[in-house]
Amino acid sequence: MPVLEISNVSKHFGAIHALNDVSFSLEPGEVIGLMGDNGAGKSTLVKIIAGNFRPTHGSLKMDGRELVMHKPVEARQHGIEIVHQHLALCDNLTAAANVFLGRELRKGVGPFRVLDYGAMYKRAGELFKELKSETRPRDLVKQMSGGQRQAVAIARTRLSDAKIVLMDEPTAAISVRQVAEVLNLIRHLRDQGIAVVLISHRMPDVFTVCDRVVVLRRGRKVADRPIALSSPEEVTGLITGAIEQVA
């Protein structure tokens, strides 16, 4: 059974049809590459799955059950974790504060609960070590390199036992070595049975790590193929519109 099933989803912002009748499904342990030109609707789709937007039409199903979400917290409760495009970091906060943003750890009882700085620093430190990143939990994000910022955004997805991880351009603006680390992490997630959606403009990333590629063009799905049956040339053609559509 697919872990996530997207059926006939459309999203309209007034006159802009960001997504039109998009359907696809995601099996446990599957890695899907979601590709498309700027403005094709990739981030919009991510935000729908993340609980930031409600679809205008269509529905989501998780493990066969209808999934209706009103806010991001609910998506996380269902085991959906996101690395947002541009990482969604607060420069004025520490790395640990960013990792735990929106789900801060607290200690104490009832209304007398205060932030548990110690536990958050400790856990964030462990996650950075796991990700082989030099990031220090107490440092401000403002002072961090691109790779360290990336690690902070990715560490968020490791806070709970996720079933699905969506990564919106996680390899933009980082070094070759760090790209390899991110791809390794994706394989590691896959091996644990976690489904991953990787959004990227980098053909090599998608072709190294993904099982399937889905292409969006102007809000419509124009391809959904096993990576083995496709080629970078074909995908490029689909993205630009040189190739209209493939089954």
């Binding site: 930031n52 996101i82 906060l93 801060e104």
Partner: protein, 332 residues
């Protein structure tokens, strides 16, 4: 292992010093101390207990509102209505008590008014999406006008059966000869500092100012927090209004005119960044203290009081300039 711990401690001590000197609050505190030292030597009248009592009490009203303003400014907003809200809340208190109600009813009505005004500001800003500058500028005009309507633009100086209680609340000193307003200010500062550092709400306030979009995406309840923040700001103005009414013993409809500028100056001098994301409760207090000492010293040094506005205005500009220079030195 031992060396790493030593290294760590060494690093800590080093970073404590560099942390201190990188804080605007630290330098402003130094300025306050230097100004006090200078004034004690240069004038006979500064270091008298009477004058010090006056100075500490005077700056508390600005300081209390600056606490609320700091929270708003950390989220990247601004509240221009606080001076008028202070006036309206004072007037509601005065009129209610003048009509024969008890001090409890008067304070409840006054602070209730403050919360309603803050909620209106907050809803228009967070849910309707209007700029804070516009909404609170409108409210600045509305609140003062309402104060005039409530009192028919007269001075209220008789507060009914609980008249003496109100005057004792604002003008007296319950503990060790420290003026009551100072005690309220200290308590409110501690509460604000605690909330900003130790609660999830406080963390989210900083997050919104740092990157509002990121806060939305990570599930921070941005809209609710913004409404709460403007309610807190109004409430701080209301509290200051209640205390000031008790201290003055009379309310006129021009109470708190132009106070928003002093309050914003205090927060900015205390290290809050108008672009959002930065600010502390302690900074707001130190900023308010510096302004009051400058104001006080103008009088003591025999400088015309009309210069006050020029000083406060320059202070805002210099404080923001300071920030600019700091950012230039460490390119991001």
């Amino acid at each position: 292992m031992a060396t790493t711990i030593d290294d760590h401690i060494g690093q800590r001590q080093h970073s404590l010093l560099s942390w201190l000197t990188s804080r605007q609050t630290f330098w402003v505190l130094i300025a306050v101390i230097l100004a006090c030292a200078f004034l004690s030597f240069a004038t006979d009248s500064f270091a008298t207990s009477n004058n010090l009592f006056n100075v500490t009490r005077n700056f508390t009203f600005v300081a209390v509102i600056a606490l609320g303003m700091t929270i708003v400014i950390i989220t990247g907003g601004i509240d221009l209505s606080v001076g008028s809200v202070l006036c309206l809340c004072s007037m509601v208190l005065a009129v209610t008590m003048h009509a024969g109600y008890s001090i409890e009813v008067g304070i409840a009505a006054s602070l209730g008014t403050a919360l309603i005004i803050g909620a209106v500001n907050g809803v228009l800003i967070a849910y309707v999406g209007m700029p804070p500058f516009v909404v609170t500028l409108g409210m600045l005009s509305i609140a003062r006008s309402l104060a005039m309507v409530a009192s028919n633009n007269t001075v209220v100086y008789q507060f009914g059966p609980d008249h003496d209680k109100l005057l004792a609340l604002g003008g007296g000193h319950f503990f060790f000869g420290i003026a009551n307003p100072v005690i309220y200010m200290v308590v409110l500062t501690l509460i604000t500092a605690f909330v900003l550092r130790w609660t999830r709400f406080g963390r989210h306030v900083y997050a919104i100012g740092g990157n509002e979009n990121a806060a939305v995406l990570t599930g921070v309840p941005v809209k609710q927090i913004k409404v709460a923040v403007y309610m807190i700001s109004s409430l701080s103005a209301g509290i200051a209004g209640v205390i000031e009414t008790g201290w003055l013993g009379a309310v006129t409809t021009n109470l708190g005119t132009g106070m928003e500028l002093q309050v914003i100056a205090a927060t900015v001098i205390g290290g809050a960044n108008l672009a959002g994301g930065v600010g502390t409760a302690f900074g707001a207090i130190v900023g308010a203290a510096l302004i009051e000492i400058i104001r006080n010293s103008l009088g003591l040094l025999g400088i015309n009081a009309f210069w006050q506005g020029a000083f406060i205005g320059s202070f805002i500009i210099v404080a923001v300039l300071f920030d600019r220079i700091k950012n230039l030195r460490q390119p991001s």
